[in-house]
Amino acid sequence: MAEIVSLEEAIRSAVRDGDTVAMEGFTHLIPFAAGHEVIRQGRRDLTLIRMTPDLIYDQLIGAGCARKLVFSWGGNPGVGSLHRFRDAVEHGWPRPLEIEEHSHAGMANRYVAGAAGLPFAVLRGYNGTGLVSQTATIRQITCPFTGERLTAVAAVRPDVTVIHAQRADRDGNVQLWGITGVQKEAVLSAQRSVVTVEEIVATLDARPNAVVLPSWAVSYVARVPNGAHPSYALDYTVRDNDYYVAWDAIARDRETFGRWLDENVHHATAGSPA
């Protein structure tokens, strides 16, 4: 059964130095508040997994929390570069960042294999790309039935997966809808999980396309209204597009970023919107 706790307690209980951590959410339902709590608690040497690193990982990388990034697209959607990510890869600031790079199809399949308890997944992908020679978790495989040459990708098995959802009930059953990305697979592939929610309700009524994660498949649930900001939670909040645009100038400069981090993360309280 999931424990319903504060965000501070959920992150303290679930995320340790050196952990492999996946924070998922495909543009929608990105767990920003939980990411900021990881920064506030000063976690270090994390291996961060995420298909689309987005601003949340730019912030964690710039804050020095990460030693490695596993990803498939690292940009500011519709705006441009992630400058903290680039500074880490291009100049090793604030510390060198090891990368393990895939395509979206490959990453999605790695989560599927993790959720299924299998060591790898099979797809038609990567053939002829430069990624094959750079990424050790991509290998060629021969189909035992047809002889076709296919690609195997190693499962991801995070120590912790963190997601944001619209709501949970009082027993900790979690419900999310709209664009649900790879969150179900990310939670099921992990040893532990943290779900922040917009609200906790008495009962979960049916929603179109909803994904339900039963309480016994989740470790911690924390109520964090607007916990996806500047991303959004369909039917609760709207995406703060201006924040994504403004982030470009903040992240471009190390000192400006440092001031932003102090004012909006270190000196903010758990779960307050940044």
Binding site: E101, T129, R149, I179, G181, R239, N241
Partner: protein
Amino acid sequence: MTSMTGYTADEMMTVTAARALADGMTCFVGIGLPSAAANLARATHAPHLVLIYESGTIGAKPDRLPLSIGDGILAQTADAVISVPEIFNYWLQPGRIDVGFLGAAQIDKHGNINSTIVGGDYARPQVRLPGAGGAPEIAASCTEVIVIVRQTPRTFVEKVDFITSVGYGAGPGDRERLGLRGRGPQRIITDLGVLTPDPRTCEFTMTALFPGVAAETVSQRTGWDVAIAAAPQAVPPPSPAELAALRDLRAASPGV
């Protein structure tokens, strides 16, 4: 930009890309110029164009341009909203999608695309780009690929610094050898005109030009010794209806 012609080079490029989409096609769409072009096509000659975004929305019908690949309007107007593993495994991989639209940071004469690094080496690049996203498998598995990119000598290079998505590899026969099932890039639409692959060499040739574009400009803005068709097709300028529809979409989409 509009003073001489009444429209911009980007508008010409977007209209040309929209014209390439036939009604009823299924189309894998990225944010930016591809999304603008696909939505323009749906608003004009192709009302039954099926827009598929990699966030898992199939048959999205936005009445403005989405601000991101996961914009709520895509989920709210879609025929189906599915997971990310499903969009790649059940819909893209088996070849159900007719057209994939891609951009590029670099593209070479064989249509190979780089969106990973520029300069230096992989471990310590001069410029780290966002990376692959959905592009490698879109380039491999869609029946055909259309690339939309502004033509500059930095972008149009003899050989890309990194192959993120395969066009025709090193030339004829490479797609078959690699087991890539789609036909590959059938056209590159730029702000100067359209390049198509030579069926014999798989090298991209400038076969259509926008109004007022000189052959010399094409050579200056291409990083390889690009062939220009002896009688390049003249692409008609945007019609008043196309321009009005595109500007309506833009006006309905502040911030895009």
